[in-house]
């Protein structure tokens, strides 16, 4: 898989074309699975890991053309990648940070449209993931369910009638499913209601996580909502739990945006315009500042305060200004201050047209 080519595109789920995609960026479902006849990763030897990796790679490559949804899954040896390429895959949400930073034989199988990724030898032998643009959990579940069936026909999963699909960590046992949606909630942050939202979600066993940040900091005002429990409820019930809460959150965010327009239109417009102005003219800019400003700009585009920019472009900029992406796009190794200069140059190039650039597929 040519990561340099991949870097130039922005993946299906970023197109910003799915349902409710002004606020819902993406929907994601992940399944944790282990093979029945190998130890879990924590007790697996080097040769176990090699064997597991070889076996899974072999079986997954026979999936070409099988089933309705699976296209082609291309295997990438994560251990053999350079650090910048591993970080690149993390920024694309195709592998987890843990997968990039751990040691030992491990890989990932990715579909070129970036809707599917199957991590091999992460915390469990298999972490299957399907991502869709906007709010689309039901179709994500259909897709991943089928993929799970196809893989299961080719290997033997560790499973018990009592505890369900067996995982390395008891927090994932049972269905092994993690259902999540990524939301853009800038107005709730500005109106300081975001903490209240977190607390009410925690009460119904949903986890909230800031994306792209250290700890609970949410850079760019992106938040991921997901189920906490995996045992005792079916996959459909767990998906419904998350799906049911999303319209409520969307409603809160829309109300908060309306409030800002009613009560402080000038302040809001000023905020958005200044953000847009800085992004278009800065000579050096950090990743944090970029995320912060792009968040205001994105909201501005949604609210019609910015007219010469489109959401897919904004979504693309969020990803392409991340550190590893910049390095891959320029083809150079860059330290922080060089990256900040390069980032500013990239933003100026992409934001200073009279019309949005046509996307190259």
């Amino acid at each position: 898989m040519d990561l340099k080519e991949l870097a130039k595109t922005s993946g299906e789920w970023l197109r910003g074309s799915g349902p409710q995609s002004d606020i819902v960026i993406s929907s994601r479902i992940r399944l944790a699975r282990n093979l029945a006849d190998f130890p879990f990763i924590a007790r697996a030897t080097e040769s176990d890991r090699d064997e597991i990796g070889r076996l899974l790679r072999e079986r997954i490559e026979t999936l070409h053309g099988a089933g309705q949804f699976t296209g082609q899954l291309i295997y990438v040896d994560v251990r053999a990648l350079e650090e910048v390429d591993r970080r690149f895959l993390v920024e694309r949400q195709l592998i987890s940070r843990e997968h990039a930073e751990s040691e030992g034989a491990r890989g990932v199988a990715i579909d070129p449209r970036e809707q599917v990724s199957v991590m091999i030898n992460e915390e469990d032998h298999l972490r299957i993931q399907v991502m869709k643009s906007g709010l689309d959990l039901n179709s994500a579940w259909e897709q991943i369910n089928e993929l799970d069936d196809l893989i299961e026909a080719r290997v033997t999963y560790a499973y018990s009638d009592r505890f369900g699909y067996l995982t390395a960590c008891p927090t994932n046992v049972g269905t092994g499913v993690r259902v999540s949606v990524m939301l853009h909630l800038p107005a709730l942050v500005i109106t300081r209601q975001i903490d209240k939202v977190f607390r009410s979600l925690q009460k119904i066993n949903l986890a909230v996580r800031g994306l792209y940040g250290e700890g609970s900091q949410a850079m760019g005002d992106f938040y991921q909502i997901s189920n906490q429990i995996t045992l005792g409820l079916s996959e459909e019930e767990l998906t419904k739990k998350v799906a049911d809460v999303v319209p409520v959150l969307i409603d809160y965010e829309r109300h908060a945006r309306d409030f800002l327009i009613r009560e402080s239109q000038e302040t809001l417009h000023d905020r958005v315009s200044r953000a847009y102005g800085i992004l278009r003219t800065a000579q050096t800019i950090s990743s944090e500042e970029t995320m912060h400003l792009l968040s205001s700009v994105r909201m501005g585009v949604n609210l019609g305060l910015i007219n010469d920019l489109e959401i897919p472009t904004v979504n693309k900029l969020f990803i392409h200004t991340q550190p590893a992406h910049l390095q891959k796009l320029t083809g150079m190794e860059l330290d922080t201050s060089d990256r900040n200069i390069e980032r500013a140059a990239y933003l100026r190039r992409n934001l200073n047209n009279d019309r949005p650039r046509p996307e190259h597929n």
Binding site: A36, F38, E152, R162, G174, T175, Q202, R209, L231, E236
Partner: protein, 173 residues
Amino acid sequence: MKCQKCDKPATFHITDLVDGKPNELHLCEECAHKFLAPAVDEAGESLPTMAGLLAQHLAVGETAEELARLDEVTCPVCGISFLEFRKQGRLGCPHDYVCFANELEPLLLNIHGETRHVGKVPKRCSNNAEQQTQLIVLRRQMKDAVAAEDYERASQLRDEIRAIERARETTKS
């Protein structure tokens, strides 16, 4: 008896095992909740940490001796001890869900509020769980044989493993 952290009366008596040595804590309700409170892990998730949960689990009336004995139980298939599991929060192999089943139940109840799986079932019955764990055991024995430089035994085991794998290939539909 007074709480060890403040002046209120102690109503929670928690036996914690630190490096195999029992550590008795006597706390009031408030301080106990703080001690056992779910921590926010690095990813900012509000999932209770394994350590927090296991500490809660331990608070359920076990004495220090009972705990020490429990920690020494090991899985016959992968060799992990219950203590190792408690420390790292990760299990060693599928068979752990059998040999640690009783200990895992209260933990699962804590995490999920449930202890039995509801939902999807694999299409092919993964019967013969015994044969599967047998493979894990054989691989481990092979590794030990190699470490002990007993290459004859190692290659015997390897042949056994291959035979079983091949047999399973042909029985797969």
